[in-house]
């Protein structure tokens, strides 16, 4: 009789929350609204109001004085249409055009290079696959500016007054400036950085793709080329499109690469301004914050548009459904006579982009005068004496520097916490999405968790910076907690994607078998679900860890001082002209990440290519 006293609504409420998946969905809906939607609406609002007194003065006209907080269309109108001194053209349209071009070129390089290597490794009898596969992902593990630094180290030359690079030192060839600084090298550095990412995504699909689909075409006498473009390509199209989407949105908003490769020589032939650089200068200028927000929003709209196109292209009708095939029966394409030369070519190519950069960082950190091996020195690593001529910052060898060690320690701690939070959230979201497949709340959680990926790191940082200046949140300003927050949210998309795909592979029955015998939820998660998909889930922790370890643009506006993180130390060295030290720090970060990834891989079998690509 007692049950009758509970109202039907209350009853439904109780039933709903008796399922852990529902609790998780609701909790994450709240968390994600607070951490993603709220900051984004701040951004949107900011683009329609006067931000601060400086801006108010700047925007005010004699006829129409405005004050801080007033509503205005000024930012949008000014940035997009102002003809005064060609302002809109030079401040917005030209950078947008050039950055789009750069991002498209980067996509092309990444998809072509990553895709071709993925095909060779998954579908042909190429030798040294394991080595190639391991080494090929190096550039993705490195900080995103590493490729840019390497590009500069390699191609810079005395003809453009930039010091002797490796190419000139080895061969005497001086390439023109447009090969060293500007749009093309930025695009190449980004493309090469994201090629492993394309490799991971496309390789994952190719590995899961039923080889019978290609064999069926072979038997029906389709040529190898025809199989590629009529069967293989359309089937990996979803992966290609998502790669393009992700590479495009990361590239167009990349700050660090243009930061390194946007220098202009004395001759001044380079007029490339990346939109991300433009955004930072707008955001940093008290008079144009609102315009900076406008730019950030436009960049996001770009990404969202591609995301929607992606969903449309990979719609349900033609979608690639995995039919259980005979996985053991994959026959590899025989490369025949081309096998050895191709392998050598790929080995050289991959080594060039994955191993030579490391050597170049080492070389640069050891040479007093770039390119001159007679000036070999270890002092940028080991010197306990301050360097003469430097008066800024920390000027002892990086391994002797207490600042450096504590920054590295803080970077590690931050990355560990971020990985822990993002990874665990990812698994929980994956669980909720997999169990409540098709429900509106679940797909909302899934989309919201992916959204941070599309927000340019720099503007994500800016949003949280704005938050830390807001009344009631000032205790966040300069705190370690705010770094943890932005890191966890920004890198959650990796983890939630990994977690979702891993959870979807587990049939509900596995958990139901445990529910039937009364195993509580926590135990089901830790004793059944986690162990089964251990490698995938740990990859879901590994990816945020690596990304966080090498991240700069996300944190650059939020760190209280350059001594906070290893990457901010690097930027400081670079800014003050200590390129030997910045190369050394870069190498140090890469080695730390590689060693940790190697240990995790050996201990648990997890690896970053298992994460995004699935399987």
């Amino acid at each position: 009789m007692a049950e009758k006293t509970i109202s039907p609504v209350g009853n439904r409420f109780r039933t709903y929350f008796s399922k852990p998946a529902n609790i998780i969905t609701v909790v994450f809906l709240v968390i994600l609204v607070l951490t993603v939607v709220l900051p984004l609406s701040t951004l949107l609002l900011g683009s329609f109001k006067i931000n601060g007194n400086q801006e108010a003065v700047y925007v005010s006209t004699f006829d129409n004085p405005v004050e801080d907080g007033d509503f205005t269309f000024h930012h949008w109108v000014e940035l997009l249409t102002s003809k005064e001194y060609h302002y809109a053209l030079t401040a917005f349209w030209e950078p947008l055009y050039q950055s789009t071009l750069m991002a498209l070129l980067a996509c092309f390089v990444a998809v072509l290079f990553g895709g071709v290597v993925a095909w060779f490794i998954t579908r042909s009898d190429l030798p040294f696959k394991k080595f190639l596969s391991t080494v090929f992902v190096f550039p993705y593990i490195m900080p995103s500016w590493s490729m840019a630094m390497f590009w500069e180290n390699f191609f810079k030359n005395t003809s453009i007054n930039a010091g002797k690079g490796m190419l000139e030192a080895l061969t005497g060839i001086c390439v023109p400036e447009s090969m060293v600084y500007g749009l093309f090298p930025c695009a190449m550095a980004l493309g090469l950085h994201y090629a492993p990412f394309a490799y991971i995504l496309i390789g994952g699909i190719l590995r899961n793709m039923d080889a019978n689909l290609e064999e069926a075409a072979t038997v029906l006498k389709a040529s190898r080329f025809k199989i590629l473009y009529r069967v293989t390509l359309p089937i990996v199209m979803p992966a290609l499109v998502s790669t393009v989407l992700l590479v495009f949105s990361s590239s167009i908003s990349s700050f660090t690469v243009p930061f390194f490769l946007n220098k202009s020589s004395i001759k001044g032939g380079n007029n490339f301004i990346a939109i991300s650089i433009q955004m930072r200068s707008l955001l940093n200028n008290g008079m144009t914050k609102g315009q900076g927000y406008v730019l950030a929003i436009i960049l996001m709209l770009f990404s969202i548009a591609i995301l929607m196109a992606n969903n449309k292209i990979t719609g349900s009708r033609k979608s690639f459904t995995t039919v259980t095939g005979k996985s053991g029966q994959v026959s590899l394409v025989k490369l025949g006579k081309a096998r050895k030369p191709l392998a050598v070519f790929l080995l050289i190519l991959v080594a060039f982009f994955a191993i030579v950069p490391l050597l170049s960082f080492a070389a640069e950190s050891l040479l007093e005068v770039p390119g001159d091996f007679s000036t070999l020195t270890l002092r940028y690593w080991f010197s306990a004496e301050p360097f003469e001529g430097s008066n800024k910052g920390d000027t002892v060898g990086i391994l002797r520097s207490a600042f450096m060690w504590s920054a590295l320690g803080r970077s590690l701690l931050l990355s560990l916490i971020v990985a822990g939070v993002a990874g665990t959230f990812g698994i929980l979201i994956g669980y909720a999405v997999a169990r409540k497949r098709g429900s509106r709340a679940a797909s909302m959680v899934s989309n919201l968790a992916f959204l941070p990926y599309l927000i340019p790191s720099m503007s994500f940082g800016a949003v949280y910076l704005a938050l830390s200046y807001t009344k009631g949140f000032t205790w966040l300003d300069g705190s370690f907690l705010i770094l943890i927050m932005v890191g966890s949210i920004k890198f959650m998309p990796f983890a939630s994607r990994t977690g979702t795909s891993a959870m979807l592979q587990l049939s509900g029955e596995i958990e139901e078998a445990a529910i039937v015998i009364g195993v509580p939820w926590i135990r089901r998660m830790t004793k059944i679900l986690f162990p089964i998909q251990k490698a995938s889930f740990i990859s879901g922790y590994l990816l945020p860890f690596i990304s966080c370890m090498r991240e700069l643009s996300l944190f650059v506006l939020l760190v209280p001082s350059f001594k906070t993180l290893a990457t901010s130390m690097l930027q400081e060295y670079s800014r003050t002209g200590l390129s030997q030290s910045s190369n050394a720090v870069n190498l140090l970060i890469i080695i730390v990440v590689l060693v940790i990834q190697f240990i995790v891989n050996k201990l648990t079998g997890a690896s970053i290519d298992k994460g995004v690509g699935g399987n």
Binding site: D210, N212, L213, E215, A216, A217, T218, V219, L220, K221, A222, S223, K226, R230, V231, P234, I235, M237, S316, R317, K318, S319, F320, T321, V323, T324, G325, K326, Q329, S331
Partner: protein, 369 residues
């Protein structure tokens, strides 16, 4: 006309041997079934003939063409072998409509467009899937996908058709229907069919000859009825037939020419074979198909262990001093559990196996002494 010849074909992966020294001649227009438990090498064999897998050693000839020769380094690509292949999971291209799937092979052959249209239409009609022309594979049921896959395979009129467990993903009723369809297709298309299955009933009902493989080694290659009634060894006898053959452990008392004396169920029997009995040790196994065990007659004493009426026939399990003997009786009968029952072993299809080698050494009749 294509006759397929396999000579000393072997396939070894790193550590284990999938197929060992296989010799086989498949005549033109035969319907051959490669039968065996899962993992026995039958799919590998099929894929080697089709060219999807490269043998480690041996020689394969289709028609007059040597398609593979390990010594002469010949290895023709599947596209040059003039074959059709039906995959277990159908392998329909998810991004193409039914029509596009079927037309694809014809386009590769550079058929003129009107001819392609006509052929696709013909195939759609033949397999009764006209209304799905514009649909994508994910919008079809398993049985419909199966038909599309068959249509796609048959459209270019291959002279040899390979099928890898094409019915295993269908439900029981549909499977039965498709069996008849396939058998009709075989006659209609005038092609040679090579078919892989682990379902002995499929093998029995469809094939002109069964090739039974175990652990990569050929066990028997004969027409289904011969395989059923004169199995080469214990493995074949056990694998083919449902309910399976009774294997009664026996002692060989004496053997002379086509006659022998064996002892089982505590008494002696005379075994008379049609031909002289092969080499046999002291331990023997008497193989008796359930239909040769007659109930309610003879001198055998047993208790009813259980009955399984299936409508048309009833499987009756007898307990003969602890040995469970299976018998099949036509019609619907029911016996009380543990009641006494007489039985006899009749017919001239009784097989004598050597226990040591497992080989069939003679086929004939047993009479109690």
């Amino acid at each position: 006309m294509p006759k397929i010849v396999l000579e000393h074909v072997s396939k070894r992966f790193q550590k284990f041997t999938a197929v060992e020294d296989l010799n086989m001649v498949i005549e033109d227009r035969e319907f051959i079934i490669l039968l065996g438990p899962s993992g026995c090498g039958k799919t590998t064999t099929l894929r080697m003939i089709a060219g999807l897998e490269t043998p480690t050693e041996g020689r394969i000839t289709i028609g007059d063409t040597v398609v593979f020769d390990s010594e002469k380094q010949i290895n023709l690509s599947p596209s040059k072998r003039d074959i059709g292949f039906l995959f277990q999971n159908y392998a329909l291209w998810p991004h193409m409509t039914v029509h596009q799937n079927i037309a694809f092979g014809l386009e590769n052959l550079k058929w003129p467009k009107p001819q392609i249209e006509a052929r696709v239409k013909e195939m759609l009609q033949m397999l009764k899937i006209e209304e799905f022309d514009k649909r994508y594979p994910s919008e079809l049921s398993g049985g419909q996908q199966q038909r599309v896959a068959i249509a796609r395979t048959l459209a270019p009129r291959p002279k040899v058709l390979f099928m890898d467990e094409p019915l295993s993903n269908l439900d029981a009723k549909l499977r039965l229907e498709m069996r008849i369809e396939l058998k009709r297709l075989h006659t209609d298309t005038d092609s040679t069919f090579v078919y892989v299955t682990h379902d002995q009933l499929e093998a029995m009902t469809l094939s002109s000859r069964i090739c039974l493989i175990k652990n990569g080694i050929l066990q028997q290659f004969d027409p289904p009825m011969e395989t059923y009634s004169n199995p080469a060894n214990l493995f074949v006898a056990d694998f083919v037939g449902n309910p399976s053959m009774n294997f009664i452990p026996a002692k060989l008392v004496s053997a002379d020419g086509a006659k022998a004396t064996v002892e089982f169920f505590g008494r002696r029997f005379a075994f008379e074979a049609a031909r002289p009995i092969g080499e046999i040790g002291a331990e023997a196994v008497v193989g008796v198909r359930p239909e040769f065990v007659r109930l309610e007659e003879g001198e055998g004493q047993a208790k009813i262990y259980g009955t399984l009426p299936a409508g048309m026939e009833t499987t009756v399990k007898l307990d003969v001093d602890g040995f469970i003997l299976t018998s099949v009786k036509f019609g619907n009968v029911d016996y009380k559990l543990n009641s006494d029952m007489n039985f006899s072993i009749e017919g001239d299809g009784i097989i004598l196996f050597d226990k040591q080698t497992g080989k069939n050494v003679g086929r004939g009749r047993v009479t109690p002494l």
